[in-house]
Symmetry: C2
Subunit: 216 residues, 2 copies
């Protein structure tokens, strides 16, 4: 099992709820839908929500070739990619001990535009299937024109860490005597009933990919 | 109504679903729970999930004084703060036209540690109440020691934009003839039944703040 070394970027300073092993980090990545990707533009930090996919240790991002990220992110440009899953609001008896329950993975790495057509297709398949398991095979195949209009970015992880908070508030000893409620409000992401767009062709039944999503 | 000028940082390049007015941007901010905050550390971009609060045009962040952000973010250091709300998975008949429905606000600005005690308290109240409406008044008052251990950051917005996608997929004309399902799987964030920590003192009833959260 790969464990990332604690470097100057990924070392979690506060709290003891850190993990540095790939298994913990990829578990959060695989459970998330959207990453917040940070990079530098005009010497300023920029954070953009993006979907992503993973093949083994390789993470992929994509976007229109006209998008900023495709223009700014030349080979070797450093980026940071963070995936956060919210699990609950933690109501402590004091504001100081109020918090959130969450799982987050922070990945530090470098970007490279993928030029190889085979790798580009595999990456787009991984991104599509990450959002909707098996959708790539169900969908109309990607055309050459679409492939050419899409920038695919390979993200190579250099340092990474995961951070988790779970469970009830950690209130101060004496505060437990106060008549103040303490506990957690759980947060879940719920997929609703699929809404077709009203112009389905004959035979366009609800596919496996969507059935899989709503059964989770 | 304040409308942010389209600058080199906030101009949305792709798609026409952009807004630059404060009302649209603050609406997304107020509906979100967690922001992804980007800044530079050792010349590398870092993206960290953080809770936040807002008082008028002023956005506040906070954290332990020992946390990286409190050490790295000196006066005038540029930061970017992004709040994303996921509304649905958009299943196009092609992978190319598959997407997500979302609302996101991207704020570019500069950080300053708040030193004034009154402003620090007001900021922490805003952050606490953003997560749990009215919780600040219910909770045990913050002590001097807790206040001193907490770094409060004022975020001054310089440029900002909002981006939204909603509705069904925009498939290619001829693809509507294919026997492939097209539509949206709605995503909602659901607050579950509050779980107290099992050590409530007498009289520690479920408070207004929590009742408000679970009624949304």
């Amino acid at each position: 099992m790969t464990v990332y070394e604690r470097g100057k970027l990924n070392r979690v300073r506060v709290g003891t709820r850190a993990a540095y092993d790939q298994e913990a980090i990829f578990k959060i990545l695989d459970a998330g839908l959207v990453a917040h990707v940070g990079f530098s533009d005009h010497d300023r930090p920029v954070v953009i929500p993006m979907i992503y996919g993973r093949i083994g240790e390789q993470v992929y991002l994509h976007g229109a070739k006209a998008a900023r990220f495709a223009k700014v992110l030349g080979p070797g440009v450093p980026i940071c990619m963070t995936v956060t899953l919210l699990d609950g609001i933690v109501a402590g008896r004091s504001a100081f001990h109020s918090s959130m329950n969450y799982r987050s993975a922070v990945l530090h790495g470098r970007a490279a535009l993928v030029t190889d057509v085979g790798e580009r297709k595999a990456a787009l398949e991984a991104i599509t299937n990450h959002l909707m398991p098996g959708r790539w095979a169900e969908a109309r195949p990607m055309t050459e024109k679409e492939l050419n209009a899409t920038a695919v970015l390979a993200f190579t992880i250099e340092e990474a860490s995961a951070k988790t908070r779970s469970g009830p508030p950690n209130d101060d000893g004496e505060d437990y005597q106060l008549p103040i409620w303490g506990g957690v409000v759980p947060i879940t992401t719920v997929f609703g009933a699929p809404e077709d767009d009203g112009v389905l062709a004959p035979g366009a039944d609800l596919p496996e990919s969507i059935l899989k999503i709503i059964s989770t």
